[in-house]
């Protein structure tokens, strides 16, 4: 191993030292913890944007409901049959399992990629919250097609909010996490309250007798707004499925499920998916339709629920940007020479704040979510193949660890090769990950088999 990579890997190892050992039986958690954690984690500021975007992309009511129903079901099944079984068998975090399978060098690269992706995601959350603050100062929200900031005032607001969120993340991550736990049920209620209060504006009768008709004609009417691509059933199904791709197929939720008593605890992810990624998206769709199909989350929240709505949007952004900034800072600590945690969080926050000034981070959020999962997915496939498929073909497992490889070259080739292959595939961005996952599984198994022959 080169001395530089060895130093970086050693630094990362120290950071994650506390969870190096597999979880012991007495530390296993009851199912209620998993249900509660999922319910709290999947109602974020971005939900205000995602559900609204489905309306602007001309999704029909039937496509939306069926797409969300089946897509979220597939996401739950991915947690249950892909992520949770590996986590329960190994009782390790993804970090240590990637290190064992792909080598410390590739683990460092994976961590840095993750940090960059986290920063962009936190940037989107800050930008969404900035629309709420912008409302108070009568600042025009960027247009759907804007890539760059449309005014100095927008930059100042995004910058100020980013700086504030970063400062709070630096000052006390744990206290904020506890505050986030208090906030999450209320944020979910605000989604429901906002949508319900705006239904009369759309003409829904108090007995709900015309709700489906209004849903089909005034909310999800199948007409995309100018400049937006029309999405259908399969797009929604795939979006709901891959929205947390990095967590289930990408296996980063091994960190959570290693505490599960049984792999079937993966089913409790339904407590996050169906309220957060179904009901909250439906609610934000209703809200955007009621405010004239204008993508302005701040205005939408204010019109729907007044100052409580604006507060909900700000808190949803803050409470979800906070752990994202923390994780990005943690990932960056490997490549920053002896920097304390506050300094790396501050650096991640500075990068995130700059990104938040660019409206493209939330105006193209759906595409970014697709890319985020896609980029990390091949490593999930490598882990899956190593864990389940290699033993089936009697191919030696964990060669990187046993032979002290810095980088498992086949894993790196599969990661890069899969990404190149999927970007060349002439299909919609949302559908690319699924054939990509197949490509990664097959190619890694083949490369591992070739490696075995060479060794013989």
């Amino acid at each position: 191993m080169s001395p530089k990579i060895a130093t970086l890997a050693a630094r990362l190892d120290n950071l994650y030292e506390f969870d190096r050992e597999p979880v012991t039986p007495e530390k296993l958690q009851p199912w209620t913890k998993f249900a509660g954690m999922f319910a709290g984690e999947h109602v974020a500021a971005t939900e205000f944007v995602i559900g609204a975007f489905f309306v602007l992309h001309g999704v029909t009511a039937r496509d939306l409901l069926l797409g969300l129903l089946f897509g979220n079901l597939l996401a739950v099944l991915s947690w249950t049959f892909v992520c949770a079984p590996i986590a329960v068998r190994t009782r390790l975090t993804l970090y240590w399992y990637v290190r064992k399978i792909a080598g410390p060098g590739l683990m460092v690269i994976y961590n840095i990629a993750n940090a960059i992706l986290y920063c962009i995601l936190a940037g989107a959350m800050i930008a969404v919250s900035a629309t709420a603050v912008g409302l108070a100062f009568n600042i025009k929200t960027p247009a759907l097609t804007d890539v760059f900031p449309n005014s100095l005032a927008w930059v100042l607001i995004a910058f100020a909010l980013g700086a504030l969120f970063t400062l709070l993340a630096v000052l006390g991550f744990e206290k904020l996490s506890r505050f986030a736990q208090v906030s999450s049920p209320w944020i979910f209620v605000i989604f429901i309250a906002g949508a319900l209060a705006l239904l009369p504006r759309l003409g829904v009768k108090t007995d709900f007798s015309n709700f489906w008709e209004i849903a089909q004609t005034k909310i999800w009417n199948g007409v995309a707004v100018a400049g937006q691509e029309k999405l259908g059933f399969l797009h929604i199904l795939f979006f709901a499925w891959f929205c947390n791709l990095a967590m289930h197929i990408g296996l980063s939720d091994m960190a959570v499920f290693r505490y599960a008593k049984r792999w079937t605890y993966g089913l409790f992810s339904a407590f996050g998916m169906f309220p957060g990624h179904m009901l909250a998206w439906i609610c934000s769709g209703i809200m955007v339709a009621a405010v004239g199909r204008e993508m302005n989350p701040g205005m939408m929240a204010y019109e729907a629920a007044g100052l409580a709505g604006v507060g909900g949007l700000l808190l949803a952004g803050w409470t979800t940007a906070n752990p994202t900034l923390y994780r990005a800072g943690l990932a960056l600590q490997a490549v920053t020479p002896n920097w304390p945690r506050w300094k790396t969080t501050l650096s991640a926050g500075a990068a995130t704040t700059i990104l938040a000034c660019f409206p493209i981070v939330f105006m193209k959020l759906l595409d970014y979510v697709a890319l985020y999962g896609l980029i990390l997915m091949p490593i999930g496939a490598v882990i899956f193949a190593e864990h389940w498929i290699l033993p089936l073909f009697k191919i030696e497992q964990y060669r990187a660890e046993k032979r002290g490889w810095t980088i498992n070259v086949p894993a790196l080739i599969v990661w890069i090769g899969t990404l190149v292959a999927v970007f060349l595939l002439p299909i919609h961005l949302y559908f690319k990950w699924l054939p990509g996952y197949g490509i990664a599984l097959i190619s890694y198994t083949l490369l591992a088999a070739l490696g075995r022959k060479e060794a013989e």
């Binding site: 505050f179 906030s183 209060a197 007044g306």
Partner: protein, 65 residues
């Protein structure tokens, strides 16, 4: 030993959350103006944060004991 105030905070916070849900129902049924709904929601929301924070703090104290 559990803090004696803990169930009271729990009850009050759940009550606040229930009010946050009840108000939009009343607004939807036309029993409340938009301004009253928004003011009521803000008030119930503040109540939720106050009582839920006290509830969480009391629960933490109990855990420590």
């Amino acid at each position: 030993m559990a803090s004696p105030a803990r169930p009271i905070y729990a009850l009050l916070s759940l009550l606040s959350l229930f009010v946050c849900l009840l108000l939009p129902v009343l607004r939807f049924l036309g029993r409340m103006t938009a301004d009253r709904f928004k003011f009521g929601l803000l008030f119930a929301s503040i109540a939720w944060f106050v009582f839920a924070s006290l509830w969480a703090a009391a629960a933490k104290k109990t855990e420590k004991r």
